[in-house]
Every structure is written in structure tokens, then in C-alpha cells.
């Protein structure tokens, strides 16, 4: 495949939507204000399992300004689709605490909030089970894991190889439930009119919301329009529609007026997804030189009763390191809990915490430098698929990262470096993320007055998609970026894949390049003449993607961390984080660096702070606000930087790019945990690395 050579791809163009965002003009979902608006507020179940007996809707209707109180007995019916998370208010069943049992519509936010607080709901309560344990009798083997990977894999005879191995690491790691917490809560403004339904929605895919919502309401897709020009972060939680979009549409239908609805921050802990907690056992068998003979990685995870989500936690282990004997597996248990979903690098993020912690333990056991250990186990082909790598520069990331970080001469002895009242340590972990590319459509248009418009229903959730697609289009058209107007975030535009799986630039960029090439051809045939109505060309990349050659395609990276651990309190501070990445061609160094360091910052946060605590008695996550669910604040983040290795890979897409939105978080928590071990001699295998997991074990 030829790649587009380019004056503008590769330059640090400022975000094209920067001025809108810094002046407050950028309009996010809840900020759309059609006439005659009503406000909806959601009421959540206060039991974890059972049924709603009755909702006292009549009482709140006596309150001033209340328009409707909608529950399963008076709600408009929706079509029964497979995704039970979306068929809200259709049955009395309660499957988890925090599930939506009613929605109140009022003239003002204040009245709706007050009525939702006062609404009486009577339940028939059943005992619930919300506790994830690896030995839970309900553990089962899912048919596949997200998105469509085999549940288990096995090569050789790993048990025998572990038996023979001179050095064995056998450890269990846990990661807690984590919540995405984009700063913009999930919000929808729903408007019904003669043409159908318009949804101003906070989503990572306008096309997917349309495709999902239309059949629920018995509408053809063209009767639903989803508008989402600006999205205040998603991290996976806005990758697929959740209850709020259906509720807004239902409520608007019921009251015959446009309705605004947003999940509150507290409600988001039950109704907008989360990363499943995991229990992972990793066994590594190696010779004294650290060469792996066996790798076994088993994951135990939870899912909900209303919908299965199987995080692909151990899939990453299938291709990270060479070893002749290997096994990976996933087991799930259905609990009375909210529905887990994609969260930034699902699978890789928890999986690489375990694998890369175990690799550090192996380095210690063998007395080998952890960078060297990883280099020593570098495979020549994908170990389980047998395919060649389209490009794999993990070793270059490790070597170059080590050089820039100042790794050379590191004393492996743990717990011996002091700076004031802090113990100091450094750690490393590998990082990786698969290369996904999904079919998309795009239209390129030459405007009669000069300039070009490029249209695609992509989503810029802060990734910089609007900006890099502008650069890609400019190069494909052979014009300056200022000549290109990029339209995204509207399902009325050509259908596009989700902003997920770090696939946006690859998927949408391919469509944009092909549309621009097609337009250039047409323009060429017309000797550059643009008719008064403009000229456009549209493409669909489905065919092109089907003809992709078989390769193992992944981005790679290495994460280096330096931590200081307070001797008295056990407080961990990440003093430095450096990420080295090999992710194909970088289209915009400015926005790419933001993606990398943003992911690394979330990884730091995961290592030290993030934990949704399940209240076993009541059956929900009890720390459901930002004062109790901690993620990194400005003072927690000191020196975080990233750089990248030049990588030419002709087997990717016309841009030669790999996804960069998720790899930054992968491996970061392990690098921090490994640095904490180096600082203190204490191996923390359970995230987050809380004070109580260090204090008391102090060296």
C-alpha cells in the first residue's frame, strides 16, 4: 500500500476547534436549546435485585411545574431489542442498584430534581449477589471476548513446561472497577417532529446511536438524526448508547415536547458503564537467563445479568512475548451489578498491569535487568497467530526510552535509595495496542467559491480528529489546511465508525483520503472547473478493508516511571513518567503528544487512585462522586512526557498511522508498581497502590 506523502501531515497544527473551545462557543449536547423545552431527571433503583411494585407518580404530579412521571406502567413501549440495557422502563424487573426505574419531566431543572427526590417507589426485594471472586460458582466461559476474540488459547504443554522451568513466577493480581468519568456527563436533548427524531447527544459515534435508536422506536434510520459536534470526553463510556439517550427520546415522546436529560455525576456510576474489576493469575516459566518457556494468563471478571460484556484481559498476552508453551483464558460471572463496558484500552489496560508486573517479578527472580528481560523474549513472528508483524519496534522503544530516561547503571537492589524522607525507585513496563480499522464513508466537496468541505460522521471527543482529518484531507487534495472545512459529529454526514479502539484516524482517514482522491480525479477530468453547484465525490472503504493482507498489526511502547514513597505515610508520588512509542506515522505531533501523555496521566491515576468500591450489603458502588472516586488532579501530575520512534509501515492505511488514543494508558500502572517495588521492596499486586498497602510493610 502506498502512503500519502505530505507537507501537512506530520506538522504541529493547532487544534482547528481550539478557538471555539477556549471561548466557550463550542456547544456540547446539553447546551442545545430548542423551543418549548422540558427537563427530565432520572430516578434510580435503591435495591440491587427484585421488582418495582408501584411508583407513586400521581403524588408528584401535584407538584407545581411537573409534566410527567414515567415508569414501566405508563412508559411508551419500545421494540424488544437484544440490548436490555437500552429497553428502559419496559418491565418491573430490577437487575442492579442504580438502574433507572422512573423519569420525571418538569418545566425547570429545580422542579424536576425536587420531584425525582420525592418520588416514592415500592419494591419487591430479592437477595442480591454483587461480589466478584475467582472461585465464584457462577464462573462461566463466555462464547468470545470483546470484541470478537477467542475466549481461550493454548499452545504446547504449559503445565509441563512450568513443571520443568528452573524459574517460575506464579502470582495473582487484581484491578478494581474503574469509572470513566468524562468531565461532560452523558446528556441528550431529544426533539420529535413530523420528520422523526433529532437527538443532540454526547456520543463517540453519531452513526451508531442512530443505528441503535431507530429500531427501538420503530423508525427507519433516515428518520433519526444524531447531532454531536462537541463531546466532553468519553474514554469508551460514550462508545455505545446508554440508557440516557433512550430515556430522553421516551420522555420527549410521552410529553410531546423537546426534553433535556443528563445523567448526574452520581448517576453515572451506575448507568454509563465502567471497567470490570479483574482477578488475574499469571504464571511464567523461564530458564536462568530469563528466556520464557511458558506463559499462562487467566482472568476472572464480572459482567451484568442484563447484558454480557467480556473484557479481553489476557488477549494481549497472546502476542507480547515469545514462549513455546502458553495458555490464556477468560471466565466471567453474572452478578447483580451495573453493565461494564469499554474503558480506555479494555483488555490491554488491566491485562498488561498483570503481565508486566509479572515480568518485573521474573526479572527480579532471574537477576536480569527488566529492560533486558523483555528484549530477550522478543518474538520474531506473532507467537500464537504465526503471522509476521507489519512492524514491531518494542525493542527500539525500550532501548531509546531507557537512554532518554537515564536507566543505564540502575542498581536493581530494592529499598536502598533515599531522598529526604522518600524512598526512590524506578520501573519499566512494555505497552502495546492493536491496530484496528473499520469501514467508513466520506464525501469530499469542492465549493464553487473555492475551498473544500470534507464530510464524515466521525467524532472528535478531544482526540484532535477534526484537526488531523483536516491535515489528511489537505494533503490528499494538495491544498493548505485553511482551504479545508472538516464537518464531523452528525449522523446526517456519511456514515462513520465509532471513535473507539484507537481506530478513528485509520478508519476515517482512509475514507477521507479516498474521497479526496476521487474528487481530485473528477476535478482533473474537468480541468479544475467547479460548477456553480459545487462538485463532490463520495466513497465507502468497506471493499478496501476486506482486501487487507494478513499481518499482526500493533503499536508498541515502553513506559518508564520514577516514584518517591514517603517513609512515614506510604504516600506515593510519581516523580517522572516517560513514554516511548512506536505507532506508525504521527500526523500531528502536538495533538499526538497530548494523546500519549493524557493516556499516561490516566495510567498514573489508575496506579495510585482509581477504585470504585462495591458495597456488598447494598449492592452498588459507594464512592460515587468526584470527592470519593479520586482521579489525578493537577498537583498529582508532575513530569509526564512522551516521544516516538520514527516508524514506516506500508501495511496499515494511506496515512501509515497506528492508533494512539489508548496505548498511553497501557503498561503505565505496571511501570509505577514496579517502581514502587524498586523503591520499597514491596510488591503491590492489587490496584490502586494505596497507603495501607505499603504502610506496615515498610522496609
Amino acid at each position: 500500500m502506498t502512503t500519502v506523502a505530505a507537507p501537512y501531515s506530520g506538522t504541529a497544527l493547532d487544534r482547528v476547534d481550539g478557538p471555539e473551545k477556549v471561548t466557550g462557543r463550542a456547544r456540547y449536547a446539553y447546551e442545545h436549546a430548542p423551543d418549548d423545552l422540558a427537563y427530565a431527571v432520572v430516578v434510580q433503583s435503591t435495591i440491587a435485585r427484585g421488582a418495582v411494585r408501584v411508583v407513586d407518580a400521581d403524588s408528584v404530579l401535584q407538584l407545581p411545574g411537573i409534566i410527567a412521571a414515567i415508569w414501566h406502567e405508563n412508559a411508551p413501549r419500545v421494540a424488544p431489542i437484544e440490548d436490555a440495557e437500552l429497553t428502559v422502563l419496559q418491565s418491573p424487573r430490577v437487575a442492579y442498584r442504580g438502574q433507572v426505574v422512573a423519569v420525571v419531566v418538569a418545566e425547570t431543572i429545580e422542579s424536576a430534581t425536587e420531584a425525582a427526590r420525592l418520588l416514592r417507589v415500592d419494591y419487591q426485594v430479592e437477595p442480591h449477589d454483587v461480589e466478584l471472586r475467582a472461585d465464584h460458582p457462577g464462573m462461566y466461559r463466555p462464547d468470545h471476548v470483546n470484541p470478537d476474540y477467542a475466549t481461550d488459547s493454548e499452545l504446547g504443554d504449559p503445565e509441563a513446561a512450568l513443571g520443568f522451568a528452573p524459574v517460575v513466577v506464579d502470582a495473582t493480581y487484581t484491578t478494581p472497577a474503574q469509572h470513566h468519568n468524562p468531565i461532560e456527563p452523558h446528556a441528550t436533548v431529544a426533539v420529535w417532529d413530523a420528520d422523526g427524531l433529532t437527538l443532540y447527544d454526547s456520543t463517540q459515534s453519531a452513526s451508531a446511536v442512530r443505528a441503535t435508536i431507530a429500531p427501538l422506536f420503530g423508525l427507519p434510520p433516515e428518520s433519526v438524526r444524531v447531532v454531536s459536534p462537541y463531546v466532553g470526553g468519553g474514554f469508551g463510556s460514550k462508545g455505545a448508547p446508554h440508557a440516557q439517550v433512550v430515556l430522553a427520546a421516551l420522555a420527549a415522546k410521552q410529553v410531546g415536547r423537546p426534553v433535556k436529560l443528563a445523567a448526574t455525576r452520581r448517576q453515572m456510576f451506575a448507568v454509563t458503564g465502567y471497567r470490570t474489576p479483574t482477578v488475574q493469575r499469571v504464571r511464567l516459566g523461564a530458564d536462568e537467563e530469563g528466556r520464557l518457556s511458558a506463559v499462562v494468563h487467566e482472568a476472572f471478571e464480572q459482567t451484568a445479568t442484563v447484558k454480557e460484556f467480556a473484557e479481553q484481559t489476557t488477549v494481549v498476552t497472546r502476542m507480547m512475548y515469545a514462549a513455546p508453551h502458553r495458555r490464556t483464558s477468560h471466565r466471567l460471572v453474572r452478578l447483580d451489578v451495573p453493565v461494564p463496558t469499554w474503558m480506555r484500552a479494555p483488555g490491554e489496560t488491566p491485562g498488561m498491569f498483570a503481565l508486566e508486573s509479572a515480568m518485573d517479578e521474573l526479572a527480579v527472580a532471574c537477576g536480569i535487568d527488566p529492560v533486558e528481560l523483555r528484549v530477550r523474549n522478543e518474538p520474531t513472528v506473532d507467537p500464537e497467530r504465526g503471522l509476521p508483524f507489519s512492524s514491531r519496534n518494542l525493542v527500539a522503544c525500550l532501548r531509546e526510552g531507557a537512554a532518554r530516561f537515564g536507566w543505564a547503571g540502575r542498581d536493581p537492589e530494592p529499598g536502598v535509595r533515599r531522598r529526604g524522607r522518600q524512598l526512590i525507585g524506578t520501573g519499566v513496563a512494555s505497552s502495546t495496542y492493536p491496530v484496528y480499522r473499520l469501514p467508513s464513508q466520506a464525501t469530499a466537496r469542492a465549493e464553487p467559491g473555492g475551498g473544500f468541505t470534507v464530510k464524515i460522521a466521525a467524532a472528535d471527543i478531544g482526540t484532535g480528529a477534526r484537526t488531523v482529518l483536516t491535515q489528511i484531507a489537505a494533503d490528499a487534495l494538495g491544498v493548505a489546511p485553511a482551504q479545508v472545512r472538516m464537518e464531523v459529529g452528525d449522523s446526517a454526514l456519511p456514515r462513520a465508525s465509532v471513535a473507539g479502539g484507537s481506530s478513528g484516524t485509520a478508519s476515517w482517514g482512509t475514507a477521507v483520503v479516498r474521497a479526496c482522491e476521487a474528487l481530485t480525479d473528477v476535478l482533473h477530468r474537468r480541468a479544475g472547473d467547479v460548477p456553480p453547484g459545487g462538485l463532490e465525490a463520495s466513497v465507502d472503504t468497506a471493499e478496501e478493508l476486506r482486501s487487507q493482507r494478513p499481518f499482526s498489526r500493533h503499536a508498541y511502547g515502553a513506559q518508564f516511571a520514577e516514584v518517591g514513597v514517603d517513609l512515614d505515610t506510604g504516600e506515593v508520588r510519581v516523580l517522572r513518567l516517560l513514554g516511548a512509542f512506536a505507532a506508525g506515522r504521527i500526523i500531528n505531533p502536538k495533538t499526538a503528544r497530548s494523546q500519549f501523555i493524557g493516556g499516561m496521566t490516566m495510567g498514573l491515576s489508575m496506579a495510585l487512585f482509581e477504585e470504585s468500591v462495591m458495597d456488598v450489603e447494598f449492592g452498588d458502588y459507594l464512592n460515587r462522586d468526584l470527592a470519593q472516586y479520586h482521579f489525578a488532579a493537577c498537583a498529582d501530575v508532575r513530569d509526564v512526557d512522551a516521544f516516538w520512534i520514527e516508524e514506516e509501515d506500508p501495511e496499515l492505511n494511506p496515512m501509515g498511522s497506528k492508533g494512539i488514543g489508548e496505548i498511553g494508558i497501557v503498561g503505565t500502572a505496571a511501570a509505577v508498581a514496579n517502581a514502587v517495588y524498586h523503591a520499597t521492596g514491596l510488591r503491590v499486586r492489587d490496584l490502586p497502590i494505596r497507603l495501607d498497602r505499603l504502610i506496615g510493610g515498610a522496609v
Binding site: D14, G18, P19, K21, V22, T23, G24, R25, A26, Y28, Y30, A33, T46, S59, Q62, L63, P64, T108, E110, S111, A115, R117, L118, L119, R120, V121, D122, H180, N181, I183, E184, Y230, G232, G233, F235, T264, R265, G462, T463, G464, T591, R593, S594, Q595, I597, G598, G599, M602, S605, D625, L626, F631, A632, A633, C634, V637, R638, D639, V640, D641
Partner: protein, 181 residues
């Protein structure tokens, strides 16, 4: 059971108040529900959507605006309490269409991704630089008796009331340092 006590809902009409709100130099006559927050008045009644609702509990800082030049969380401020005050939102930072230096630095340094916390970060940053210039100490100020230097530790400490989930903190600090230096 939801609801409190056994007496059932109270059927009183909302209490309203007529105010003159001064926002970004403009006077706005408004009638507000006395339960209404400044954040909801700005966003729902004045279509000033710059201030953002991230948590509605004063925990994220996305709603930060300036009241008489000082940063406040508008989600924790009842509108009836600010009718004689001068309110500045992110929309009021740019003068005559030219970006405020802090806004320009945020764009140049890529100090945001999704942009949703950005208006709060900007209002907070503008006021914070002034607080430092006025010699107000913070928890990390070594000498609380003298002038305060706007170093990275001071910026990080003083900006920790504004959460950014995209993880742009490193660039936010760089942008503020550039403007404040």
C-alpha cells in the same frame, strides 16, 4: 423507598426573585427560582454555555466563573446571592474578539483535549495568576510573609480544584507559566 418522612410531597409553588445580573459587563434582568444555581441561570436562561456542569457538587471545577474577580464554583452559588456582583464567564475573557493571553496560550500549548473543563480552567487560571501577583500564599508557599513566585508547584497546587480527565495538566501548567511569567 425514595422520599423523606411520611408526609408526602409538599405542594408549594417555587419561590422566585427578580434580579439584575451583571455578566461580562451586560445587565440581565432575570426572574429566578430561589433554588437555582448561578451555573443553571447562566446556562439555561442566559445561553451563556461556557461555564460547564461536570458534577454539580463543587468537586470538578468545570463551572468556575469569576465573581468580582475571584473564582467561585457557580454550581455551589445560588443566583439570588450575586445580584449586586460583577460576574465574568469564559465568554467575557476575550476582549473585542481577541483571545485573552491565557486563551491563546491554552491553544498554543494544547492545554486541553475535549475542551469541557477548559472554560473552568481558564477562569481559574486567570484569577489564580492575579492571586499570586497579589501575594496570596498557598499550601505549598514556603515563605508566606513575602511575595509569591509563580513556579510549577504553585500552579499545580492552585489549579488542583479544576479536574481534567483528558490528562492535559502538564500542558495546562506550561500554558499558565508562559502567561504568568
Amino acid at each position: 423507598m425514595n422520599g423523606e418522612g411520611n408526609s408526602g410531597p409538599v405542594f408549594a409553588d417555587p419561590i422566585t426573585a427578580d434580579l439584575m445580573l451583571s455578566v461580562n459587563g451586560d445587565e440581565h434582568p432575570v426572574t429566578v427560582d430561589t433554588r437555582e444555581t448561578l451555573l443553571d441561570t447562566l446556562r439555561e436562561h442566559l445561553d451563556l454555555i461556557g461555564a460547564k456542569k461536570g458534577c454539580d457538587h463543587g468537586q470538578c471545577g468545570a463551572c468556575t466563573v469569576l465573581v468580582d474577580g475571584r473564582r467561585v464554583k457557580s454550581c455551589l452559588t445560588l443566583t439570588v446571592t450575586v445580584d449586586d456582583r460583577e460576574i465574568t464567564t469564559v465568554e467575557g475573557l476575550a476582549v473585542d474578539g481577541a483571545l485573552h493571553p491565557m486563551q491563546a496560550a491554552f491553544v498554543e500549548r494544547d492545554a486541553f483535549q475535549c475542551g469541557y473543563c477548559t472554560p473552568g480552567q481558564l477562569c481559574s487560571a486567570v484569577a489564580m495568576v492575579r492571586e499570586v501577583a497579589d501575594g496570596w500564599p498557598s499550601a505549598v508557599t514556603a515563605d508566606v510573609s513575602g511575595p509569591v513566585a509563580l513556579d510549577d508547584d504553585e500552579i499545580r497546587e492552585r489549579m488542583s480544584g479544576n479536574l481534567c480527565r483528558c490528562g492535559a495538566y502538564v500542558n495546562i501548567v506550561a500554558a499558565i507559566r508562559q502567561v504568568g511569567a
